[in-house]
């Protein structure tokens, strides 16, 4: 039985409690030796299938499959879809060509980030927005007064991420040669199946978008093609290491999506997240623009920094100090990078230490080794670029490995 049908009707059938199965669940369950599931928007999603390290290295060294179906997916279509989206997101949607994908942000009226996501353009009047947070009500409000329709495709569209250096070779082996597909481009390869050259790992990779009911054959096709190319199914823990290396943000971890914040003043502006390049003040009004202009004058309250942390102990949860004494921020995501061979972290640091005075930062890391706790104060150096950004991710056509 399809998971969606179990609560679609008005009959007194129980609405499922707890986690429900995603479209690839049968395959994932068979592979999930660790029996480690976590809650991703109500779906049972694997955090680890067998071993984090091996999954991570499959991702960076060969190829990985990761189910991203719980992402929220919304179709926005109609003559004024572009105008509607342009008023909502901070980038200029008019400059997004059909067949292209853009990473976008959208803010509330006070300029605080509601969520980030990827915006696909299919044609002049046809878009899809993919993101983490429930957004249907917001999109409907945003669409009021515009000639366009919003459809929630979250439970209709399965999505799968194939990421890693051999992912293009696997595509070819599966009979899908997309050698000319450039980064941030997408294409419909068969009726109801689209592939985009996007991902959350900073590496060469593709994402598949197809009908929920046709998910298992898609998995099997890629799985079969991947046998000779080191393909491995992975859980979120491996993906999380890769995305920190790539410097990508996770909503609810690196910033608090403002609509999900019960407490006041938890929102952050794009500049505070280091994403000011995604804000186009010149394109006309967009949500929060006036507040953001005022915020530009005031200057950011904090800044999300990429930190290169001394030592080997991951800085997850560490407090950040200036001059070893003054507490000025905290690490939002931290990990040892097995590829960059560095101890890396994303950290929110208050102004001015996060902005103009970002020297002399220290991370306070607590370790517990076999029952002995230790506190270490180690240097944390801000870094501009992503910690790992391989050239293969951008090469077109991509290499086979």
């Amino acid at each position: 039985m399809n998971a969606r049908d179990s609560f679609a009707g008005r009959a007194a059938t129980p609405v499922p409690q707890g986690l429900i199965d995603g479209p690839f669940h049968q395959r994932l369950a068979a592979l999930n030796h660790a029996r480690a599931w976590y809650d991703w928007a109500g779906y049972a999603a694997p955090s680890v299938l067998d071993t984090v390290e091996f999954e991570y290295f499959a991702l960076r060294n060969a190829a990985s499959l990761f189910d991203i179906s719980p992402m929220r997916k919304f179709r926005v279509a109609g003559p004024q879809a572009e105008a509607m989206l342009n008023r909502m997101v901070t980038r200029d949607v008019a400059r997004l060509a059909p067949g292209r994908v853009a990473y976008v942000l959208w803010c509330d009226e006070e300029g605080m980030v509601i969520d980030d996501g990827t915006l696909f353009r299919f044609g002049p009047d046809d878009f899809r927005l993919c993101c983490q947070e429930p957004m249907f009500g917001w999109l409907e409000d945003a669409a009021w007064g515009f000639d366009c329709a919003v459809t929630d495709e979250t439970d209709a569209l399965a999505a799968l991420a194939l990421q890693g250096p051999t992912s293009h070779a696997i595509l070819k082996a599966a009979g899908l040669d997309l050698g000319d597909l450039r980064p941030f481009a997408h294409r419909e390869v068969a009726p109801g199946l689209a592939i985009s050259r996007t991902g959350f790992t900073g590496d060469l990779g593709y994402e598949f978008w197809g009908a929920w009911d046709a998910a298992l054959p898609l998995w099997d096709r890629l799985w079969e093609a991947g046998r000779a190319h080191g393909l491995r199914a992975v859980g979120y823990e491996a993906v999380n290491i890769a995305r920190i290396e790539a410097g990508f943000l996770t909503a609810g971890v690196d910033f608090q999506p403002v609509h999900a914040a019960e407490r006041l003043h938890r929102g952050r502006t794009p500049r505070e997240l280091g994403l000011e390049r995604l804000v186009d003040f010149g394109k006309g009004h967009f949500n929060g623009r006036r507040a953001l202009l005022a915020a530009e004058k005031r200057g950011p309250r904090s800044r999300l920094l990429r930190l290169d942390v001394e030592g080997h102990k991951p800085a997850q949860g560490a407090l950040i100090y200036h001059g070893r004494r003054r507490e000025v921020g905290h690490v939002t995501s931290g990990t040892w990078s097995p590829t960059a061979k560095r101890n890396i972290a994303l950290a929110e640091v208050r102004a001015p230490w996060g902005t103009t005075k970002s020297g002399d930062l220290w991370a306070e890391i607590y370790t517990c080794e076999e029952g002995v706790w230790e506190r270490r104060m180690v240097r944390a150096r801000p870094q501009r670029a992503a910690f790992y950004r391989p050239a293969r991710a951008r090469a077109t056509p991509p290499a086979d490995f």
């Binding site: 009226e109 006309g284 006036r290």
Partner: protein, 526 residues
Amino acid sequence: MSARYDAVVVGGGHNGLVAAATLARAGRRVCVLERADRLGGMAAGGAFPDGTPMPRIAHLLYNLSPAVLNELGFGAGGPVETRALPTVCLDPEGRHVVVRDGSPVLADGRPHPEAEAYRRLAARLVRFGGLLARLADAPPPQVSERLADLAGMRRLGPLAALGWDFRKLGRGDRREFLRIVLSNAHDVILDELSDGPLAGSLAADAVRGAWAGPRAPGTVFSLMYRLARGGGAALPLGGMDAVIAALADRARSLGAALRTGAEVTEVRVEGDRACGVRLADGEEIAAGAVLVATAPGAAMRLAGPAHYDIEAVRRLRNMRAKGTAAKLNLRLDGLPEVPGLGPELLGGRLLLAPSVEQVERAFDPVKYGRVSEAPVIEAVIPSLTDPQAAPHGGHVLSAIVQYVPHAPEGGWTGAARDRLRDVALAALETALPGLSARVTAAETLTPSDIEAATGAPGGHWHHGELSLDQLLTVRPVNGMARYRFGPAGHYLCGAGAHPGGDVMGAPGRNAARVALADATAGEAAA
């Protein structure tokens, strides 16, 4: 070819005219654009089939802002000559009560048993209303993000003035103000008076035009608001049309251009700044500022939702504007003989609100889309006071009928309209027997008709309910209370803005002053 003005004003009702006159007086080139063929909006008059003038919607003056009168050079007398009317609380039992200057007597001249209690209550409400009036002549107070900065302190100015007046009240009055300001009319009235026509009339004044019964918390606030200038109702000689004509003349003489039959279909915005308007016939008029006297939602649609934040649009859409007042205008060939009510009293402001409970009960049906079977009515027979009101003889009766839904179950069919007329006439007949026989022509305006005629959403007189959640810093909606309305140079100057409805002129004046201040600051910066 496009003309260029410093400012255009969209909507030629009283607020639009006051805004235009205020701008013109400061030397700005202004043009008023009115969609209808005559100026006036809610205050525009009409005519019966025989040519007798008809007070179409508004019929009395309560609350003309003294600041407006002053600044536009009308003096305390106002733009036209008026006659103060006594309030006559009609009693179906015949024990009518007359209130003059806040003091009630029985219509037959005997003292009213609760005269003293009424005087005390009314005087207190007027005193408190005067306090609130302090807030009417400036943008609403706003707590700034930074209390410490100068602009932030200035915004608290009106609040400080109110605080100063408040200190001058006696201690008991201060306590009482803070207790009742958020209370409901039902309790505050019935704590002091027994229920009957006198109490009922006060309750009716508290809820006139409102989607609320007297039991609703917040109705004391609206009652005080109504009483802010003493509460006396005045009949303008020549009708509300004369008021509009006087305002229009003043605006013209100050240099403003007034155009009727000019429907604005779009406020043009460039670079997040309003730069003019487009008319229905395609004409474009460039302007440095655009002041819109329409309802807030309509003003937002004129510029287009793309120029507003999503939350602002949501708030504007949710602004409550459910009109409950209908209008019945009657042409009479003569007056009925009403025992106990001579022509002098019949010429007063006639209130049919037999008790607070009945006002509350009249409200109930409208919640479910039905017309009240025993409506609350405010009626005037202007022709008894003003000879111009019926130049061809006979009389005119103008009645505000409450509660009437904007969208009744089954819609406003002809039959539904006739039924509304009959219900209202039957109600009037309980206190003015013989009235129906005198009617030679009648016009019924439902809230839906009022919306069609004036654009007021839901036919709501105040362009949005005057309830606590839509007043002061949150009028018309949170974040837009200080007349600036989305893009720079775009202002709201109608009744949907602070301080709200009634033929008061304050929103128009305050908005124009904000626009002037912005323009001056812009010129200084340039």
